[in-house]
């Protein structure tokens, strides 16, 4: 492992990979800073580009986009009280008041610092926990994988806020999409409609581009007429860019706790960077000695939110790389990129490609370092992206979506798959089905079916095998605990407030 770690670090430090890290962060900042564009959109659009790059270069660039986008949502959150990404909603609560107090540079610098620290902490977790998890998973067989996939699907349904019914339905849409192609048991071609391309199944990447990119292009086109314009120019009154040493010391425990929350929740499917900052903000407020400042320009609150959402990025990559089970919707797209490269995310990746794995880890650390430095020094330049009109953005997103889908195998069929996925997504959003369960169902569905077939073949049709194997039984019991815990919580909330009806989360 030591030589793989060193070789991976050296690979990440090659000029092309350093350039990929910087480019990735810059592109991520564009996607994160502009309200309406998201990290998922940015990563999904760039996946086809990584197809033609070396695996390490492509993956490092994607981690840069992911981390940069999650951080950059803070820019508009602080300057305009408009979160650039959903992960930056809590940042508006204290970031914008700081701007109103004439401290935009301090707010932005603190956000960059906290994001960088959260990201670096999660990078350390990624480096240490992933190999351990992968090592454990090497002993997993088909039975354990079925239990693990079921755990992932159950967690995404029960931990996502909103209607359980809608989340369940979303999972089944994703699993249903995974039915297209050859049946793993008999090799029977399902729903191929005579198209040879469909016998291999629907490509995950074109579907994700259709779901996240084309729909956003249409939404941007709809808003092109009534484009929001930041009122006047964004003014940056002079002032210090970073917190003082005293402020940093007093936030040491805050940053540690928030980063740990981000990493811990990132490991769970469905709890992406959009949810984490709310929890860490609430925790920071609870333990704070200056609760009165929260909502009025508390650096503590701002840094809690920003460190946790970036810590979630690395956390979500832990199960993605170690188990092949994505920890968030963006991580699911990341997983699609790995598959596109012909790599198998999961424990075998650590055995077959250890240098690549450690290059990705090292690249992730470098990405967070660049983001921290860039965020402190160049934030005024980053804010320029706010001036791009929605008409141009809609056009650019649509163009790169089509070309991106085409670029995968230079096949026009993938473009039609992408448009089909876009239509389906529009239907799902209209029906108020959240997309996170759909994405996880799409990724995990084929894994579930393949391993289910293998497990039942080995046990000669005996379903009790899932309860007989200790690891499988443990995973299923943990899943059951999650279900019980969530259901009890919902019942308590409903009893406490009978007027509140659980509404489906639209996205």
């Amino acid at each position: 492992m030591d030589s793989a770690l060193l070789d991976g670090l050296l690979l990440a430090l090659q000029p092309i990979n350093l350039l990929a890290a910087v480019v990735g962060v810059l592109l991520g900042v564009v996607f994160g800073a502009i309200p309406g564009l998201t990290a998922t959109l940015g990563v999904a659009l760039l996946v086809p580009v990584t197809f033609v790059l070396e695996p390490a270069t492509g993956m490092i660039m994607l981690t840069g986009v992911y981390a940069g986008a999650i951080y950059a949502g803070a820019i508009t959150a602080i300057l305009l009280r408009i979160p650039g990404t959903p992960a930056s909603i809590p940042t508006t609560w204290d970031g914008y008041p700081l701007t109103q107090q004439g401290k935009p540079r301090l707010a932005l610098g603190s956000a960059a610092l906290a994001s960088g620290i959260g990201g670096l902490v999660s990078g350390i977790a990624l480096l240490t926990l992933s190999p351990l998890l992968a090592g454990l998973a090497l002993s997993f067989g088909a039975v354990e994988y079925v239990a693990l996939v079921l755990f992932g699907l159950i967690v995404v349904v029960f931990l996502l806020e909103g209607s359980l019914l809608h989340s369940c339905a979303g999972v089944l849409v994703g699993v249903g999409l995974g039915l297209v192609g050859l049946d793993p048991a008999q090799g029977f071609a399902r729903y191929s409609f005579g198209q040879f391309e469909l016998t291999a199944g629907l490509g995950v990447v074109p579907v994700l581009i259709g779901a996240f990119c084309i729909t956003e292009a249409v939404r941007l086109a709809r808003t092109s007429r009534t484009t929001y314009r930041p009122g006047g120019s964004v003014s940056m009154t002079p002032g210090r860019r970073v917190p003082s040493l005293r402020e940093l010391r007093s936030n040491g425990w805050n940053l540690t706790r928030s980063s740990a929350i981000g990493v811990g929740l990132g490991i769970l499917p469905a709890v992406g960077p959009e949810t984490t900052p709310f929890i860490s903000y609430a925790a920071a407020r609870r333990f704070s000695k200056r609760k009165d400042l929260y909502g009025k320009g508390s650096l503590e609150g701002l840094m809690a939110a920003e460190s946790s959402n970036n810590a979630n990025v690395g956390g979500s990559l832990i199960p993605t790389l170690a188990l092949g089970i994505p920890g968030s919707a963006v991580a699911a797209v990341f997983l699609g990129a790995l598959t596109l490269q012909g790599l198998r995310p999961g424990p075998l990746l650590f055995v077959e490609q250890p240098v690549l794995v450690y290059a990705i880890f090292s690249g992730f650390m470098l990405v967070n370092l660049f983001m921290l430095i860039g965020g402190i020094l160049f934030v005024r330049q980053f804010a320029v992206v706010l001036r791009l009109p929605h008409a141009a953005l809609a056009t650019a997103v649509a163009f790169f979506s089509v070309i991106g889908a085409f670029a995968i195998g230079s096949n026009i069929f993938n473009v039609w798959v992408m448009f089909g996925a876009g239509v389906l997504t529009a239907l799902l959003l209209a029906a108020r089905i959240p997309l996170a369960p759909v994405v996880l169902g799409l990724i995990l569905g084929p894994l579930l079916e393949t391993n289910l077939v293998r497990a039942l073949a080995a046990s000669q049709g005996d379903w009790t095998v899932f309860l007989q194997r200790p690891i499988s039984l443990t995973i299923l019991l943990v899943a059951l605990c999650v279900v019980v815990f969530v259901c009890v919580g919902r019942v308590r909330r409903r009893l406490a407030d009978p007027q509140k009806v659980t509404e489906p989360a639209p996205h």
């Binding site: 033609v52 959903p86 909603i89 806020e161 909103g162 209607s163 019914l165 809608h166 369940c168 339905a169 089944l172 849409v173 699993v175 249903g176 039915l179 049946d183 048991a185 008999q186 029977f188 399902r190 729903y191 292009a217 249409v218 086109a221 092109s224 007429r225 009534t226 992406g272 959009e274 919707a329 009109p389 008409a391 141009a392 809609a394 056009t395 649509a398 163009f399 089509v402 070309i403 085409f406 670029a407 230079s410 026009i412 473009v415 239907l427 799902l428 209209a430 029906a431 108020r432 089905i433 996170a436 569905g445 079916e449 509140k500 009806v501 509404e503 489906p504 989360a505 639209p506 996205h507």
Partner: protein, 174 residues
């Protein structure tokens, strides 16, 4: 994913407004019907291949029927289309451009189809200073072509014009 609660309500007429079926109910019903049709098709599968899809699609059709019912009971005011563009012809036009773009890509090559599609899209969406943007589309198209074809080696559909430009760029690269 971000939460956007739609509020609270349980009006008996929630799912329909003045006799019209709300989009969320209709979408749920369409998905339920789609799942039901696909469930029926699984009966034609070989027996050994039938079980898993039958369960997934069958349960899906039931769940989506329930989704349609729950959406009907949800808050009476569906999200107001604040942009007033539910049936905006420009959005429809935008979609038509980009659906036709892949067809044009194959027929007339990357450079011409891309320049036309980008210009048409920007003009349709009424970008400010359209002349500047349309003129800017030309160098951008060539730049993107160079990036995709020459730098990233993505095989793009080519006509003689595209091939000439590609040969020129390869010559520059040496």
């Amino acid at each position: 994913m971000a939460e956007q609660g739609d509020g609270v309500g349980s009006s008996a007429t929630a799912g329909s407004v003045r006799g019209r079926v709300s989009p969320s109910v209709l979408a749920g019903a369409v998905l339920a019907a789609g799942f039901a049709i696909l469930t029926v098709t699984t009966l034609d599968f070989p027996e050994a291949s039938r079980g898993y899809p039958l369960v997934v699609l069958g349960v899906g059709s039931v769940l989506f029927a329930c989704v349609a019912v729950q959406n009907r009971k949800a808050a009476p005011s569906e999200a107001v289309d604040e942009h007033g563009s539910g049936r905006d012809p420009r959005v429809a036009g935008f979609l038509v451009i980009w659906v036709l773009y892949p067809v044009a890509l194959i027929a007339i090559g990357f450079i011409v189809s891309t320049a036309v599609a980008l210009s048409a899209s920007l003009l349709l969406l009424r970008v400010k200073r359209p002349l500047v943007w349309v003129v800017g589309v030309v160098p951008v198209t060539f730049l993107v072509f160079a990036l995709l074809q020459v730098v990233l080696n993505i095989a793009l559909p080519q006509t003689p014009l595209d091939r000439s430009v590609a040969d020129f760029l390869y010559g520059l690269r040496g």
